[in-house]
Amino acid sequence: MSDFTMPSLGADMDSGTIVEWLVKPGDHVQRGAPMAVVDTDKAAVEIETFQSGVVGDLLVEPGQRVDVGTPLATMLAAGEAPSAAPVSVGKAKRPRARRVPPPREAAAPVPPAVPREAEVAAAAPPAPSPPLRHHAAELGVDLASVTGTGTHGRITRRDVDAAAHRPRVSPYARRLAEELGVDLAAVTGTGTSGTVRAEDVRAAAHARPEVPPVSTEAPRSDRATIAALMSRSKREIPHYYVATTVDMHTVVSWLRDTNRDRSVAERIVPAAALLRAVALAARRMPQLNGFWVDGVFVPGEDVHVGVAISVRRGALVAPALRHAADLELPVLMQALRDLVGRARSGRLTRAELADPTLTVTDLGDQGVEEVFGVIQPPQVALVGIGRLVERPWAVDGLLGVRPLVRLSLSGDHRATDGYTGARFLATIDDLLQHPEAL
């Protein structure tokens, strides 16, 4: 038996709240399967298991905030007998979460017998399929509480629909309800087809005569998380800064021409072309793509470009556009829309939050022409993109009006020098002058 523990989803995370379990005791899970949804201070993230096996007990209830490293569930290797004690669903049998994670248990013993997967699979009802889990998540149904009526106790779509006596709840409203201690079952939704919205939750909270404390430990605010990370960055990282102006005429004209043949949904915005150029430049210059760990530079395994996204609650999150240098521009554009959409309303994956190798902050849409960002440790570089502006610009000895953008690079001087940063920006500029190759 081994433990499934709260993972660290970034350098700045030291605890997280289980929002929802995606598995139940007895479920057969493969390595990489999503186990639970965790709310960090920045986003809701699906966390996956690194071990195939059977889910034992769930040790932490939804809503509980625990430190990184705290066991969340026990995992049995395939063929291993489940504990004799009755399986408790959602009720923590262990003492409630402590501030200090318990010491790591010894490595899981290897089961002596040959795994009898077939027997285990036959004994436990088959795990709900991913589409069904998705359906259940959409309806806000906890699969652990659904009784399956299909073959071998399998949960069917109808079972999920039947369990969905609760109206739909927007993710934000759900979180708010959790924070305010509002029972969602008692809230009347005013949104489309009875969807419970944030206002409904607030109204319900105001209507209550008294507000009982939800949690004894107040969650750290988004601001505090950012404050801690940025202080660490400025304390530890000797930043250097370089900047340049890029003539966007060629790429903007090319996008305008190619976008004419695209449906609105497929159109590509200049921000995507800039990200693509950054990703390609990072592949060419790996010394800016990676991490500073224990006094040495460790290159990133691939180019995962972190994209700083302001989430509507006022928080900031920088999930990765993974393998960005391998994404053709139209694919990257869709990946970007998907990532931004999920960061704001849905879910990010553990990998997206944990492993950006270089971050880009684009403040152009906020009206500033130039931004010099603070590096996200342990990364070693941050690219700043300003607003696309039309300005007089000399081309071949003639003055014209051109769309321009200011690009900056904040570099970690321990890892690279300004010379490298300057070459990096020149590479991006060069790539943007040949948009058909992006």
Binding site: S170, A198, R260, A265, R267, V269, P270, A271, D365, Q366
Partner: protein, 84 residues
């Protein structure tokens, strides 16, 4: 399309992107992107939804016509009249 119909159509798309947007207090000539802090991806989504819902084609060259509530109303009135 009447100005009122256009207004409610535009408001519907904006609410989808910015659920808590205060559209009643929005002056008709206020810049939508700046006032509502829409980035280029938000704006693209706005255009996509508006185009689908109103059943009109919207090109990038039309984007300046979608700057304010007032200009959106004028654009939709002209575009739907043209396709009738």
């Amino acid at each position: 399309m009447t100005p009122d119909q256009a207004r409610s159509l535009v408001s519907k798309q904006i609410r989808f992107i910015v659920p808590d947007a205060d559209l009643d207090g929005l002056p008709p000539d206020a810049d939508l992107r700046r006032t509502l802090e829409l980035d280029s991806l938000d704006f693209l989504e706005f255009v996509e939804r508006l185009s689908k819902d109103a059943g009109v084609r919207i090109d990038e060259d039309d984007y300046p016509s979608l700057a304010t509530m007032e200009s959106c109303q004028a654009f939709l009135a002209a575009r739907t009249a043209a396709s009738d």
